[in-house]
Protein backbone atom coordinates (compact mmCIF):
# COMPACT_ATOMS: atom_id res chain seq x y z
CA UNK A 1 0.00 0.00 0.00
CA UNK A 2 1.42 3.31 -0.92
CA UNK A 3 0.56 6.73 0.50
CA UNK A 4 0.78 10.02 -1.35
CA UNK A 5 1.52 13.29 0.34
CA UNK A 6 0.34 16.46 -1.33
CA UNK A 7 1.76 19.88 -0.73
CA UNK A 8 0.13 23.14 -1.77
CA UNK A 9 1.88 25.43 -4.14
CA UNK A 10 2.12 29.16 -3.24
CA UNK A 11 -0.61 29.92 -5.79
CA UNK A 12 -2.90 27.35 -4.19
CA UNK A 13 -2.23 28.82 -0.75
CA UNK A 14 -3.19 32.28 -1.98
CA UNK A 15 -6.40 30.96 -3.51
CA UNK A 16 -7.29 29.11 -0.33
CA UNK A 17 -6.76 32.16 1.87
CA UNK A 18 -9.23 34.07 -0.30
CA UNK A 19 -11.88 31.41 -0.74
CA UNK A 20 -12.09 29.91 2.76
CA UNK A 21 -12.91 33.18 4.62
CA UNK A 22 -15.40 34.00 1.90
CA UNK A 23 -17.14 30.70 2.37
CA UNK A 24 -17.17 31.19 6.13
CA UNK A 25 -18.73 34.64 5.76
CA UNK A 26 -21.36 33.32 3.35
CA UNK A 27 -22.32 30.50 5.69
CA UNK A 28 -22.57 32.91 8.63
CA UNK A 29 -24.84 35.24 6.66
CA UNK A 30 -27.09 32.44 5.49
CA UNK A 31 -27.45 31.17 9.08
CA UNK A 32 -28.68 34.56 10.35
CA UNK A 33 -32.26 35.84 10.40
CA UNK A 34 -33.89 35.85 7.02
CA UNK A 35 -35.40 39.00 5.60
CA UNK A 36 -38.60 38.18 3.79
CA UNK A 37 -40.63 40.17 1.31
CA UNK A 38 -44.21 39.26 0.44
CA UNK A 39 -46.86 40.89 -1.74
CA UNK A 40 -50.64 40.53 -1.55
CA UNK A 41 -53.13 41.94 -4.04
CA UNK A 42 -56.10 43.51 -2.25
CA UNK A 43 -59.36 45.30 -3.05
CA UNK A 44 -60.63 48.57 -1.61
CA UNK A 45 -60.62 48.96 2.18
CA UNK A 46 -58.48 45.96 3.03
CA UNK A 47 -57.93 44.98 6.65
CA UNK A 48 -54.41 44.33 7.86
CA UNK A 49 -53.84 42.71 11.24
CA UNK A 50 -50.41 42.54 12.83
CA UNK A 51 -49.55 40.61 15.99
CA UNK A 52 -45.97 41.11 17.09
CA UNK A 53 -44.71 40.61 20.63
CA UNK A 54 -41.69 42.82 20.21
CA UNK A 55 -40.15 44.93 17.48
CA UNK A 56 -40.53 47.91 15.24
CA UNK A 57 -43.55 48.11 12.98
CA UNK A 58 -43.53 50.74 10.27
CA UNK A 59 -46.61 51.11 8.10
CA UNK A 60 -46.79 53.51 5.18
CA UNK A 61 -49.49 54.13 2.64
CA UNK A 62 -48.82 53.88 -1.06
CA UNK A 63 -50.88 54.11 -4.22
CA UNK A 64 -50.76 50.44 -5.21
CA UNK A 65 -53.67 48.09 -4.57
CA UNK A 66 -51.45 45.66 -2.76
CA UNK A 67 -49.88 45.05 0.60
CA UNK A 68 -46.14 44.58 0.81
CA UNK A 69 -44.69 43.03 3.94
CA UNK A 70 -40.96 43.09 4.60
CA UNK A 71 -40.21 41.21 7.78
CA UNK A 72 -36.97 40.71 9.61
CA UNK A 73 -37.13 38.29 12.52
CA UNK A 74 -34.52 38.74 15.21
CA UNK A 75 -33.27 35.17 14.97
CA UNK A 76 -33.87 31.80 13.36
CA UNK A 77 -35.92 30.86 16.37
CA UNK A 78 -38.59 33.33 15.35
CA UNK A 79 -40.96 32.79 12.44
CA UNK A 80 -43.09 35.29 10.61
CA UNK A 81 -46.40 34.38 9.00
CA UNK A 82 -48.23 36.55 6.53
CA UNK A 83 -51.30 35.19 4.85
CA UNK A 84 -54.27 36.54 2.96
CA UNK A 85 -57.88 35.67 3.73
CA UNK A 86 -60.09 37.43 1.22
CA UNK A 87 -59.48 41.13 1.60
CA UNK A 88 -57.67 40.69 4.90
CA UNK A 89 -53.95 40.15 5.41
CA UNK A 90 -52.91 38.64 8.73
CA UNK A 91 -49.31 39.06 9.84
CA UNK A 92 -47.97 37.47 12.98
CA UNK A 93 -44.74 36.60 14.73
CA UNK A 94 -44.39 33.32 16.53
CA UNK A 95 -41.76 31.10 18.05
CA UNK A 96 -40.08 28.52 15.82
CA UNK A 97 -38.97 26.54 18.85
CA UNK A 98 -40.09 26.22 22.41
CA UNK A 99 -36.83 27.57 23.81
CA UNK A 100 -37.48 31.15 22.78
CA UNK A 101 -38.08 33.53 25.67
CA UNK A 102 -40.76 36.15 25.28
CA UNK A 103 -38.15 38.91 25.21
CA UNK A 104 -36.44 37.25 22.24
CA UNK A 105 -39.65 36.99 20.23
CA UNK A 106 -38.76 39.98 18.14
CA UNK A 107 -39.34 40.89 14.53
CA UNK A 108 -39.25 44.16 12.66
CA UNK A 109 -41.77 44.93 9.93
CA UNK A 110 -41.91 47.39 7.12
CA UNK A 111 -45.34 47.32 5.57
CA UNK A 112 -46.85 49.24 2.70
CA UNK A 113 -50.63 49.37 2.40
CA UNK A 114 -53.26 51.18 0.29
CA UNK A 115 -54.21 54.42 1.97
CA UNK A 116 -57.78 53.29 2.68
CA UNK A 117 -56.56 50.24 4.63
CA UNK A 118 -57.85 49.45 8.08
CA UNK A 119 -55.14 48.51 10.56
CA UNK A 120 -55.26 46.38 13.69
CA UNK A 121 -51.89 46.31 15.39
CA UNK A 122 -50.76 44.53 18.56
CA UNK A 123 -47.17 45.16 19.53
CA UNK A 124 -46.22 44.64 23.16
CA UNK A 125 -42.87 46.36 23.08
CA UNK A 126 -40.84 48.15 20.48
CA UNK A 127 -42.36 50.89 18.37
CA UNK A 128 -45.26 51.44 16.00
CA UNK A 129 -45.03 54.06 13.26
CA UNK A 130 -47.87 54.70 10.84
CA UNK A 131 -48.06 57.41 8.23
CA UNK A 132 -50.56 58.51 5.59
CA UNK A 133 -53.05 55.72 6.25
CA UNK A 134 -56.62 57.04 6.14
CA UNK A 135 -58.61 53.99 7.28
CA UNK A 136 -59.68 53.15 10.83
CA UNK A 137 -56.94 52.04 13.13
CA UNK A 138 -56.75 50.09 16.34
CA UNK A 139 -53.38 49.87 18.07
CA UNK A 140 -52.71 48.10 21.36
CA UNK A 141 -49.33 47.97 23.04
CA UNK A 142 -47.80 47.44 26.45
CA UNK A 143 -44.59 49.40 26.35
CA UNK A 144 -44.32 50.21 22.67
CA UNK A 145 -44.63 53.83 21.68
CA UNK A 146 -47.09 54.73 18.93
CA UNK A 147 -46.32 57.42 16.42
CA UNK A 148 -48.94 58.40 13.83
CA UNK A 149 -48.63 60.98 11.10
CA UNK A 150 -51.17 62.23 8.59
CA UNK A 151 -53.75 59.62 9.47
CA UNK A 152 -57.53 59.79 9.55
CA UNK A 153 -60.46 57.56 10.34
CA UNK A 154 -61.39 56.33 13.77
CA UNK A 155 -58.18 55.90 15.75
CA UNK A 156 -58.28 53.80 18.90
CA UNK A 157 -54.97 53.61 20.71
CA UNK A 158 -54.39 51.76 23.94
CA UNK A 159 -51.04 51.46 25.65
CA UNK A 160 -49.95 50.55 29.14
CA UNK A 161 -46.70 52.45 29.35
CA UNK A 162 -46.03 53.45 25.77
CA UNK A 163 -46.16 57.05 24.67
CA UNK A 164 -48.39 58.27 21.85
CA UNK A 165 -47.72 60.94 19.32
CA UNK A 166 -50.16 62.04 16.67
CA UNK A 167 -49.21 64.66 14.13
CA UNK A 168 -51.71 66.00 11.60
CA UNK A 169 -54.28 63.35 12.45
CA UNK A 170 -57.93 63.77 11.47
CA UNK A 171 -61.14 61.90 12.21
CA UNK A 172 -61.63 60.68 15.75
CA UNK A 173 -58.96 59.93 18.31
CA UNK A 174 -59.47 57.81 21.41
CA UNK A 175 -56.34 57.07 23.35
CA UNK A 176 -55.77 55.64 26.79
CA UNK A 177 -52.72 54.69 28.77
CA UNK A 178 -51.51 54.30 32.32
CA UNK A 179 -48.07 55.84 32.29
CA UNK A 180 -47.71 56.90 28.67
CA UNK A 181 -47.60 60.54 27.63
CA UNK A 182 -49.52 61.95 24.67
CA UNK A 183 -48.50 64.55 22.17
CA UNK A 184 -51.29 65.66 19.83
CA UNK A 185 -49.98 68.21 17.37
CA UNK A 186 -51.71 69.91 14.43
CA UNK A 187 -54.76 67.75 14.88
CA UNK A 188 -57.85 68.25 12.78
CA UNK A 189 -60.05 65.90 14.77
CA UNK A 190 -63.58 66.64 15.83
CA UNK A 191 -63.52 64.08 18.60
CA UNK A 192 -60.54 63.60 20.88
CA UNK A 193 -60.70 61.59 24.06
CA UNK A 194 -57.37 61.08 25.80
CA UNK A 195 -56.83 59.59 29.22
CA UNK A 196 -53.66 58.61 31.03
CA UNK A 197 -52.70 58.19 34.67
CA UNK A 198 -49.22 59.55 35.16
CA UNK A 199 -48.46 60.75 31.66
CA UNK A 200 -48.50 64.28 30.32
CA UNK A 201 -50.91 65.38 27.61
CA UNK A 202 -50.13 68.07 25.09
CA UNK A 203 -52.87 69.22 22.73
CA UNK A 204 -51.80 71.69 20.09
CA UNK A 205 -54.45 71.38 17.41
CA UNK A 206 -57.59 72.88 15.99
CA UNK A 207 -60.82 73.11 17.95
CA UNK A 208 -63.31 72.27 15.22
CA UNK A 209 -66.89 73.58 15.52
CA UNK A 210 -69.07 71.06 17.35
CA UNK A 211 -65.98 69.06 18.22
CA UNK A 212 -65.46 67.56 21.65
CA UNK A 213 -62.04 67.41 23.29
CA UNK A 214 -61.79 65.54 26.55
CA UNK A 215 -58.38 65.20 28.16
CA UNK A 216 -57.92 63.55 31.53
CA UNK A 217 -55.06 62.39 33.72
CA UNK A 218 -54.30 61.69 37.35
CA UNK A 219 -50.96 63.43 37.64
CA UNK A 220 -48.56 65.06 35.23
CA UNK A 221 -49.44 68.06 33.11
CA UNK A 222 -52.21 68.74 30.65
CA UNK A 223 -51.32 71.49 28.25
CA UNK A 224 -53.71 72.94 25.73
CA UNK A 225 -52.73 75.66 23.28
CA UNK A 226 -55.20 77.97 21.60
CA UNK A 227 -55.23 80.74 18.99
CA UNK A 228 -57.18 84.00 19.25
CA UNK A 229 -59.58 82.81 16.55
CA UNK A 230 -60.50 79.57 18.29
CA UNK A 231 -63.99 79.10 19.65
CA UNK A 232 -64.64 76.77 22.54
CA UNK A 233 -66.53 76.17 25.71
CA UNK A 234 -64.06 75.23 28.43
CA UNK A 235 -64.25 73.32 31.66
CA UNK A 236 -60.99 72.63 33.47
CA UNK A 237 -60.70 71.05 36.88
CA UNK A 238 -57.82 69.73 38.90
CA UNK A 239 -58.93 68.14 42.12
CA UNK A 240 -55.65 68.47 43.98
CA UNK A 241 -53.52 70.39 41.49
CA UNK A 242 -53.62 73.76 39.76
CA UNK A 243 -55.19 75.29 36.68
CA UNK A 244 -53.32 78.01 34.80
CA UNK A 245 -55.20 79.88 32.11
CA UNK A 246 -54.29 82.50 29.52
CA UNK A 247 -57.65 82.53 27.72
CA UNK A 248 -60.02 85.43 28.32
CA UNK A 249 -63.09 83.42 29.14
CA UNK A 250 -66.62 84.70 29.44
CA UNK A 251 -67.95 83.26 32.67
CA UNK A 252 -71.10 81.22 32.59
CA UNK A 253 -74.22 82.97 33.78
CA UNK A 254 -75.27 79.90 35.70
CA UNK A 255 -72.48 77.75 37.05
CA UNK A 256 -73.80 74.38 36.05
CA UNK A 257 -70.94 72.14 36.83
CA UNK A 258 -71.16 70.22 40.05
CA UNK A 259 -67.39 69.80 40.10
CA UNK A 260 -66.92 73.53 40.67
CA UNK A 261 -67.38 73.02 44.39
CA UNK A 262 -64.21 70.99 44.62
CA UNK A 263 -60.59 71.52 43.69
CA UNK A 264 -59.40 74.18 41.31
CA UNK A 265 -61.76 74.64 38.46
CA UNK A 266 -62.44 76.99 35.63
CA UNK A 267 -65.49 77.27 33.41
CA UNK A 268 -66.19 79.70 30.63
CA UNK A 269 -66.59 80.41 26.96
CA UNK A 270 -63.95 81.57 24.54
CA UNK A 271 -65.42 83.44 21.56
CA UNK A 272 -68.63 81.70 20.47
CA UNK A 273 -67.93 78.49 22.34
CA UNK A 274 -68.42 76.21 19.36
CA UNK A 275 -66.19 73.37 20.47
CA UNK A 276 -66.42 71.67 23.83
CA UNK A 277 -63.20 71.28 25.78
CA UNK A 278 -63.10 69.31 29.03
CA UNK A 279 -59.86 69.04 30.96
CA UNK A 280 -59.62 67.19 34.23
CA UNK A 281 -56.82 66.02 36.46
CA UNK A 282 -56.62 64.48 39.89
CA UNK A 283 -53.49 66.17 41.18
CA UNK A 284 -51.80 67.35 38.01
CA UNK A 285 -51.38 70.80 36.52
CA UNK A 286 -53.57 72.09 33.72
CA UNK A 287 -52.18 74.80 31.49
CA UNK A 288 -54.28 76.62 28.91
CA UNK A 289 -51.78 78.64 26.95
CA UNK A 290 -51.79 81.00 24.00
CA UNK A 291 -50.21 79.50 20.93
CA UNK A 292 -46.99 81.25 19.92
Amino acid sequence: MSTTQTTLTPWQWKTATLIVPGLLICSAVSAGPKRQEQHFKVDAHPVITIHNPNGMITVKAWTKAEVMVISTPASDQVDVDAEQMGNRVDISTHAASQDVSSDDMRADYQINVPEDAELQIHDDSGEVNVSNVLGDMNVETIGAGVDLQDTAGYLTIKTVGGSFQCIRCAGQVEVSSISGSFKLVDLRSYHVHAQTSTGNILFDGQFLPNGTYRLKNYSGAIEVRFSPGDSFDLSAMSLRGTVNNQAALTPKAHPQHFYSKFGNSLFGTFNAGRAKVELSSFDGTINILKRD
Binding site: S102, I142, G143, S197, T198, Y218, L239, R240, F258
Partner: protein, 223 residues
Protein backbone atom coordinates in the same frame (compact mmCIF):
# COMPACT_ATOMS: atom_id res chain seq x y z
CA UNK B 1 -135.08 14.25 22.19
CA UNK B 2 -134.50 17.29 20.03
CA UNK B 3 -131.65 17.10 17.56
CA UNK B 4 -128.75 19.55 17.86
CA UNK B 5 -127.25 21.91 15.32
CA UNK B 6 -123.54 22.78 15.24
CA UNK B 7 -124.34 26.19 16.78
CA UNK B 8 -126.18 24.48 19.66
CA UNK B 9 -123.25 22.16 20.19
CA UNK B 10 -120.80 25.08 20.30
CA UNK B 11 -122.93 26.70 23.00
CA UNK B 12 -122.65 23.52 25.04
CA UNK B 13 -118.97 22.96 24.27
CA UNK B 14 -117.69 24.21 27.64
CA UNK B 15 -119.94 21.75 29.45
CA UNK B 16 -118.84 18.95 27.12
CA UNK B 17 -115.20 19.62 27.82
CA UNK B 18 -116.03 19.68 31.54
CA UNK B 19 -117.44 16.19 31.25
CA UNK B 20 -121.20 16.78 30.79
CA UNK B 21 -122.28 14.52 27.93
CA UNK B 22 -126.04 14.87 27.22
CA UNK B 23 -127.52 12.34 24.79
CA UNK B 24 -128.40 14.87 22.07
CA UNK B 25 -124.84 16.22 22.11
CA UNK B 26 -123.42 12.70 21.83
CA UNK B 27 -125.77 12.06 18.93
CA UNK B 28 -124.68 15.26 17.15
CA UNK B 29 -121.03 14.49 17.62
CA UNK B 30 -121.47 11.06 16.05
CA UNK B 31 -122.94 12.58 12.92
CA UNK B 32 -120.89 15.84 12.62
CA UNK B 33 -117.33 15.57 11.35
CA UNK B 34 -116.50 19.26 12.03
CA UNK B 35 -117.61 19.25 15.63
CA UNK B 36 -115.87 15.90 16.15
CA UNK B 37 -112.60 17.37 14.88
CA UNK B 38 -113.06 20.43 17.09
CA UNK B 39 -113.57 18.31 20.18
CA UNK B 40 -110.57 16.15 19.29
CA UNK B 41 -108.32 19.25 19.00
CA UNK B 42 -109.58 20.71 22.27
CA UNK B 43 -109.09 17.39 24.03
CA UNK B 44 -105.49 17.20 22.79
CA UNK B 45 -104.79 20.73 24.04
CA UNK B 46 -106.41 19.98 27.35
CA UNK B 47 -104.38 16.86 27.94
CA UNK B 48 -101.14 18.67 27.02
CA UNK B 49 -102.01 21.46 29.42
CA UNK B 50 -102.51 18.92 32.16
CA UNK B 51 -98.95 17.67 31.68
CA UNK B 52 -97.68 21.24 32.08
CA UNK B 53 -99.50 21.53 35.36
CA UNK B 54 -97.60 18.53 36.62
CA UNK B 55 -94.22 20.25 35.98
CA UNK B 56 -92.67 22.06 38.96
CA UNK B 57 -93.41 25.77 38.95
CA UNK B 58 -89.92 26.65 40.24
CA UNK B 59 -86.48 25.63 38.99
CA UNK B 60 -85.20 22.46 40.63
CA UNK B 61 -83.17 22.68 43.80
CA UNK B 62 -79.91 21.95 42.00
CA UNK B 63 -80.23 25.27 40.12
CA UNK B 64 -80.45 27.21 43.36
CA UNK B 65 -77.62 25.18 44.86
CA UNK B 66 -75.35 25.90 41.93
CA UNK B 67 -76.20 29.59 41.92
CA UNK B 68 -75.64 29.88 45.64
CA UNK B 69 -72.31 28.08 45.37
CA UNK B 70 -71.15 30.39 42.60
CA UNK B 71 -72.16 33.55 44.44
CA UNK B 72 -70.48 32.31 47.61
CA UNK B 73 -67.30 31.46 45.77
CA UNK B 74 -67.24 34.98 44.38
CA UNK B 75 -67.75 36.46 47.82
CA UNK B 76 -71.00 38.15 46.85
CA UNK B 77 -72.97 36.32 49.53
CA UNK B 78 -71.91 34.52 52.68
CA UNK B 79 -72.39 30.83 53.27
CA UNK B 80 -74.98 30.57 56.08
CA UNK B 81 -73.69 27.10 56.98
CA UNK B 82 -69.92 27.17 56.63
CA UNK B 83 -69.57 23.80 58.30
CA UNK B 84 -71.53 22.02 55.59
CA UNK B 85 -69.52 19.77 53.29
CA UNK B 86 -68.11 20.91 49.95
CA UNK B 87 -70.83 21.75 47.44
CA UNK B 88 -71.58 19.35 44.67
CA UNK B 89 -69.86 19.83 41.37
CA UNK B 90 -71.51 22.60 39.38
CA UNK B 91 -70.97 20.95 36.06
CA UNK B 92 -73.67 22.76 34.13
CA UNK B 93 -72.21 26.12 35.16
CA UNK B 94 -68.74 25.09 34.13
CA UNK B 95 -70.01 23.61 30.88
CA UNK B 96 -71.80 26.85 30.14
CA UNK B 97 -68.57 28.84 30.19
CA UNK B 98 -66.10 26.14 29.21
CA UNK B 99 -66.00 27.24 25.61
CA UNK B 100 -64.76 30.75 26.44
CA UNK B 101 -61.07 31.43 27.12
CA UNK B 102 -60.36 32.39 30.71
CA UNK B 103 -59.02 35.89 29.94
CA UNK B 104 -62.22 36.70 28.10
CA UNK B 105 -64.26 35.57 31.06
CA UNK B 106 -62.04 37.42 33.49
CA UNK B 107 -62.24 40.61 31.47
CA UNK B 108 -65.96 40.36 30.97
CA UNK B 109 -66.46 39.62 34.63
CA UNK B 110 -64.34 42.53 35.83
CA UNK B 111 -65.92 44.90 33.34
CA UNK B 112 -69.35 43.77 34.43
CA UNK B 113 -68.33 44.29 38.03
CA UNK B 114 -67.23 47.86 37.39
CA UNK B 115 -70.35 48.54 35.33
CA UNK B 116 -72.47 47.11 38.11
CA UNK B 117 -70.73 49.38 40.60
CA UNK B 118 -71.41 52.36 38.36
CA UNK B 119 -75.05 51.46 38.07
CA UNK B 120 -75.51 50.87 41.77
CA UNK B 121 -73.71 53.98 42.88
CA UNK B 122 -76.11 56.34 41.16
CA UNK B 123 -75.97 58.33 37.97
CA UNK B 124 -72.73 60.13 37.41
CA UNK B 125 -73.11 63.86 37.40
CA UNK B 126 -76.36 63.88 39.37
CA UNK B 127 -76.66 65.41 42.78
CA UNK B 128 -76.88 62.65 45.29
CA UNK B 129 -77.63 63.06 48.92
CA UNK B 130 -74.66 62.40 51.14
CA UNK B 131 -76.26 59.65 53.15
CA UNK B 132 -77.50 57.82 50.10
CA UNK B 133 -74.16 58.20 48.42
CA UNK B 134 -72.26 56.95 51.43
CA UNK B 135 -74.53 53.94 51.68
CA UNK B 136 -74.14 53.20 47.99
CA UNK B 137 -70.43 53.75 48.10
CA UNK B 138 -69.90 51.43 51.02
CA UNK B 139 -72.10 48.71 49.63
CA UNK B 140 -70.76 48.83 46.14
CA UNK B 141 -67.13 49.84 46.14
CA UNK B 142 -65.98 47.62 49.01
CA UNK B 143 -66.74 44.30 47.30
CA UNK B 144 -65.55 45.77 44.02
CA UNK B 145 -62.21 46.72 45.50
CA UNK B 146 -61.94 43.34 47.21
CA UNK B 147 -62.79 41.55 43.98
CA UNK B 148 -60.15 43.46 42.08
CA UNK B 149 -57.61 42.69 44.78
CA UNK B 150 -58.35 39.00 44.69
CA UNK B 151 -58.29 39.06 40.88
CA UNK B 152 -54.90 40.74 41.12
CA UNK B 153 -53.50 37.99 43.33
CA UNK B 154 -54.78 35.27 41.02
CA UNK B 155 -53.59 37.05 37.87
CA UNK B 156 -50.11 37.81 39.13
CA UNK B 157 -49.72 34.20 40.21
CA UNK B 158 -50.80 33.00 36.77
CA UNK B 159 -48.19 34.97 34.85
CA UNK B 160 -45.73 32.49 33.49
CA UNK B 161 -42.75 34.70 32.87
CA UNK B 162 -42.77 37.29 35.62
CA UNK B 163 -39.26 38.48 34.81
CA UNK B 164 -39.82 39.48 31.21
CA UNK B 165 -39.72 43.14 30.28
CA UNK B 166 -43.40 43.13 29.39
CA UNK B 167 -44.38 41.53 32.66
CA UNK B 168 -42.22 44.03 34.54
CA UNK B 169 -43.96 46.89 32.76
CA UNK B 170 -47.37 45.45 33.59
CA UNK B 171 -46.46 45.10 37.25
CA UNK B 172 -45.05 48.59 37.37
CA UNK B 173 -48.20 50.06 35.90
CA UNK B 174 -50.39 47.98 38.15
CA UNK B 175 -48.59 49.57 41.10
CA UNK B 176 -49.34 53.01 39.63
CA UNK B 177 -53.03 52.22 39.32
CA UNK B 178 -53.14 50.75 42.84
CA UNK B 179 -51.56 53.92 44.15
CA UNK B 180 -54.22 56.05 42.48
CA UNK B 181 -56.98 53.83 43.73
CA UNK B 182 -55.69 54.38 47.26
CA UNK B 183 -55.49 58.14 46.73
CA UNK B 184 -58.96 58.31 45.22
CA UNK B 185 -60.46 56.18 47.96
CA UNK B 186 -58.94 58.53 50.50
CA UNK B 187 -60.44 61.53 48.68
CA UNK B 188 -63.84 59.88 48.56
CA UNK B 189 -63.68 59.14 52.26
CA UNK B 190 -62.71 62.74 53.02
CA UNK B 191 -65.29 64.29 50.70
CA UNK B 192 -68.04 61.74 50.21
CA UNK B 193 -70.17 64.10 48.14
CA UNK B 194 -67.34 64.86 45.72
CA UNK B 195 -68.46 63.30 42.46
CA UNK B 196 -65.24 64.18 40.70
CA UNK B 197 -63.27 62.09 43.16
CA UNK B 198 -65.73 59.27 42.65
CA UNK B 199 -65.33 59.50 38.89
CA UNK B 200 -61.58 59.28 39.25
CA UNK B 201 -61.96 56.32 41.59
CA UNK B 202 -64.15 54.36 39.22
CA UNK B 203 -61.94 55.20 36.28
CA UNK B 204 -59.04 53.81 38.28
CA UNK B 205 -61.04 50.66 38.99
CA UNK B 206 -61.77 50.34 35.29
CA UNK B 207 -58.09 50.78 34.47
CA UNK B 208 -57.18 48.09 36.94
CA UNK B 209 -59.77 45.72 35.49
CA UNK B 210 -58.40 46.34 31.98
CA UNK B 211 -54.85 45.84 33.13
CA UNK B 212 -55.64 42.62 34.97
CA UNK B 213 -57.34 41.35 31.82
CA UNK B 214 -54.21 42.03 29.82
CA UNK B 215 -52.08 40.32 32.44
CA UNK B 216 -54.45 37.39 32.48
CA UNK B 217 -54.13 37.07 28.71
CA UNK B 218 -50.38 36.92 29.04
CA UNK B 219 -50.72 34.33 31.77
CA UNK B 220 -52.71 32.22 29.35
CA UNK B 221 -50.47 32.68 26.34
CA UNK B 222 -47.22 32.73 28.18
CA UNK B 223 -46.12 35.85 26.37
Amino acid sequence: MASMTCRDFHHELDKWMDGERPANAQSHLKSCVHCGALVADLSAIQSEAETWDSLPSEPPERIWTALRTQLESEGLIEDPHPETPEPRSIGWWNDLFAKFPRPVLAGAYLAALVAFAFAMSGTRGNHVKDVKWLDGSTIVSSPLSAQLDSAEVATVASMRQPNSAVAASLHQNLAIVDNYIALCEKSVREEPENEAARDFLYDAYQQKADLLTQMSERGETGQ
